[in-house]
Symmetry: C2
Subunit: 155 residues, 2 copies
């Protein structure tokens, strides 16, 4: 939904499949320089009269979001499927309706299970900074933890 | 979660029932002067570093939220069950994952189906005004529409 186009009061979820009838599906990143795999993005609520935005991301089985950090926070609720998340130096399994908090300046990545998609809502501030990618030394630092190394390697 | 208490990165959804293990369940309104029935409220994300808040409301079968309006917007996603909503002068059935937009200063109310709860996420600005209740003449105005009159009467 482009900002400020007046939405209908009710927009229907698609029946018999995931997603919404009237919400466009986008590639996760326009920028092809950032590594990710099998992720789509839908903007469920974006409005100049609202200070937060609600987006829906879906990671295909075995796929992953970009490993990144930024000043703005993420508030996440899993809506479909299962997977794992990295937040800081913690790796955790996540499933239906689990809540994930990504504090400011915290490395994070979401991975779908090998055999299930991972669909999640993500609340952010409408005004927010752009993500940073890890440099080599930061990546090595993250991999100091065996759990994080396994996670980043998709194991 | 009280504001600013550092949350764990992952908070689990309860398995085998609705809700979350570590999120307190509140009465919908502290103020008993506002009419509602069978509604609970849970704050999923509230943080001083986030400009939006995500709450979960659950309306028991046959119950309803307060009929009200305010300057701030509501952005709603149905998470469980089914029911109906009034937004302005429109009454619509809502079900799983449907999206409801309540623009500023728009009368609205949510009703669960007679035999199903209605659970929904609601995104609002953290800083927001207090709701107004309709006076008698505003209520009469709303009831000019037969669909709205039936909805308000719980039919």
């Amino acid at each position: 939904m482009p900002e400020d186009r007046k939405p209908k009061p009710v927009r229907r979820a698609a029946r018999g499949r995931r997603g919404w009838e009237s919400v466009e599906v986008h590639q996760y990143k326009q920028d092809q320089a950032t590594p990710y795999e099998g992720v789509t993005r839908q903007v469920l609520f974006r409005d100049s009269r609202l200070k937060g935005e609600l987006r829906y991301f879906e990671v295909a089985p075995g796929g992953y979001s970009t490993l990144e950090r930024h000043e703005h926070m993420h508030a996440v609720l899993v809506l479909h499927g299962a997977g794992q998340c990295l937040v800081g130096d913690e790796v955790q399994k996540i499933g239906l309706h689990d809540l994930v908090t990504v504090p400011p300046w915290t490395w994070h990545q979401f991975r779908a299970a090998p055999d299930e998609p991972l669909g999640f809502l993500c609340l952010v501030d409408a005004e927010r900074d752009r993500p940073q990618l890890p440099n080599e030394s930061e990546l090595e630092g993250l991999k100091a933890s065996p759990a994080v190394r396994d996670f980043l390697g998709g194991r």
